[in-house]
Symmetry: C2
Subunit: 333 residues, 2 copies
């Protein structure tokens, strides 16, 4: 009974923080109207939902080291805008049709609109970040910019890997560290910096975010083949169709030989993947128990992440951060 109550409390805190960030988005929508070519798709992209995890984590990390979450709000919005920039541009590169169950910007408008409004999202992100009042502003900008560099590199490796046949699980982990880990670690590190955390708290928050991000991406790979099509707003096995080198694929490839290996080597963009082929690949995943490996890897990273937070003093914010990370990795969509 006590645990139930606590969960509800954590959930309420996370929801409250999420809605504060979304209020900022709403204000942003009202501010600028022209050129519509740029601002309409931005309003749309920010209005299609999303868990806003990264921004909530900025606020929680700030509070966890003793800062006021209010002081981290502009930075939280900036991190969320940077994340949305990556989504809008990635959807163009992935030819994605749906995002959060609704048409992507590149589908609803076109690729040019998605490129330009993505660029502008980023520009506005920096504008928000620069509003942050902190003696560590230069360092905060450095962390944010490093994350931006590495997210692009991660996406570059992801696209490069699509065309490669021999991607190892080591390559995969390097890629997701950059593509997903770095931005979540920037969120928690920036929160810690704004909250004037001690050096060891900042380091712990950064590593916490990075480990969580890696676990989070592997979870995404799992959900691609396990999620509910309607609820998740994606196509089941979409990663296979796109030739993505997911954790499940690279792990399977490291194990199988012969015809199975040949089949897995066909996961390259442009190869037509009919339902039957996808089903055969899913069968290999099942037989090789790579879903168990994935869950182990997720569990390992999550436990390491939790351990990192030992240096942070107990409190509601820290507990909510831990609760949020657990919930994210137990999600079904």
């Amino acid at each position: 009974m006590l645990r139930m109550l606590q969960e509800r409390e954590y959930s309420a805190i996370a929801e409250k923080y999420k809605s504060i960030v979304e209020q900022r988005f709403a204000a942003l929508k009202g501010n600028r109207k022209e050129p519509r070519f740029v601002y309409e798709p931005i309003s749309y992209a920010l209005g299609t939902g999303g868990k806003r995890i990264r921004s909530v984590m900025v606020l929680l990390a700030c509070e966890a080291v003793g800062g006021s979450p209010r002081s981290a709000l502009d930075a939280a919005v900036a991190v969320e805008l940077l994340h949305n920039f990556t989504l809008v541009h990635d959807d163009v590169m992935d030819n994605a049709v749906l995002r959060r169950g609704q048409p992507t910007v590149c589908k609803k408008w076109n690729r040019d609109v998605a490129i330009l409004s993505g660029d502008e999202l980023l520009a506005i992100a920096y504008r928000f970040l620069l509003k942050t009042k902190s003696p560590h502003l230069a360092r905060i900008l450095g962390v944010f910019t490093d994350a931006f560099v590495e997210v692009c590199e991660g996406q570059g490796f992801d696209k490069e890997f699509e065309r490669l046949k021999d991607v190892t699980s080591g390559d995969y982990l390097m890629m997701v560290r950059k593509k997903t880990g770095r931005l979540i670690s920037a969120a928690t590190e920036i929160g810690g910096l704004i909250g004037n955390g001690a050096a060891r708290e900042i380091s712990a928050l950064r590593r916490f975010g990075e480990l969580l991000g890696i676990a989070f991406q592997i979870m995404d790979d799992v959900l691609d083949i396990a999620g509910d099509e309607e609820e998740f707003g994606k196509t089941i096995g979409g990663d296979i169709v796109e030739g993505k080198k997911t954790y499940l694929l690279v792990k399977s490839r490291e194990r199988v030989k012969g015809a199975d290996r040949k089949l897995l080597l066909k996961v390259i963009p442009g190869n037509t993947m009919d339902r039957k082929t996808i089903r055969r690949i899913l069968e290999i995943y099942r037989r090789e128990h790579v879903l168990d490996d994935a869950r182990d890897e997720i569990g390992r990273n999550t436990r390491l992440a939790e351990k990192e937070l030992a240096v942070v003093k107990p409190g509601n914010a820290k507990s909510t951060l831990l609760w949020l990370s657990k919930r994210l990795l137990a999600r079904s969509s």
Copy 2:
């Protein structure tokens, strides 16, 4: 005889500064290799030449107010990278095949590579800017980010105007102020800030850059129909083919009626523009003397720009800045 000698000296200073910026680019190329998907196109884009005006102006503006140009070098590189980011992404949106006489990134590789390497150019731009040692760093970042926001807005208006029939010369000037003026004004303002210029010097440098940028863009519009195809690396009348609302087009439209007006209203993307139609439009430009209007507008903006610099103390850097602006507007490509 004296004037000749001075010109040579100015040219030598500008060339020296340009080569210092290009040395930084070369070092940048050597630094990172992977993912090749991202870094090869960046090296290529930075290696296809260009006048590097914006970066040279950062250095000259810094020196003009008494600063050391060395102290502005990272910012100069940042401004040039931001400019190159806009070129790489604009080429995707404009389906451009040639840039500086060589294949564009989107042509040599593909659109996805151009999107991602453009994004990364921007990330690296911020990384360079953040290296700047200045007590005004936050303000410098603000100027840079505002320029980034407005460049995107300007490009948005430019694309929006392509589809519109009733773009006025007022709309046009607003668009080019954002699209071209803002980045050149950011270059001179940032240079002034790093050089610790007085408030009125900074304002003057900002306005100098903005006015020059507007003149510069109108010159670009003129060169589109006047340049030498091979030397300029563009197609003559390319703006007409793309449906661009250039200064020449909006001015002509404000004047003509009947069949001529109907013809000019056809300048919309997707309308096939054969050589005969282009020739008829060029004939209207000639008859309506809009090239003279363009030259007047360029002259007016240039004179106003020069006047702004009256508050800056005379010296080699200021003279070189003025010489450079004159030369840019007398260029034939």
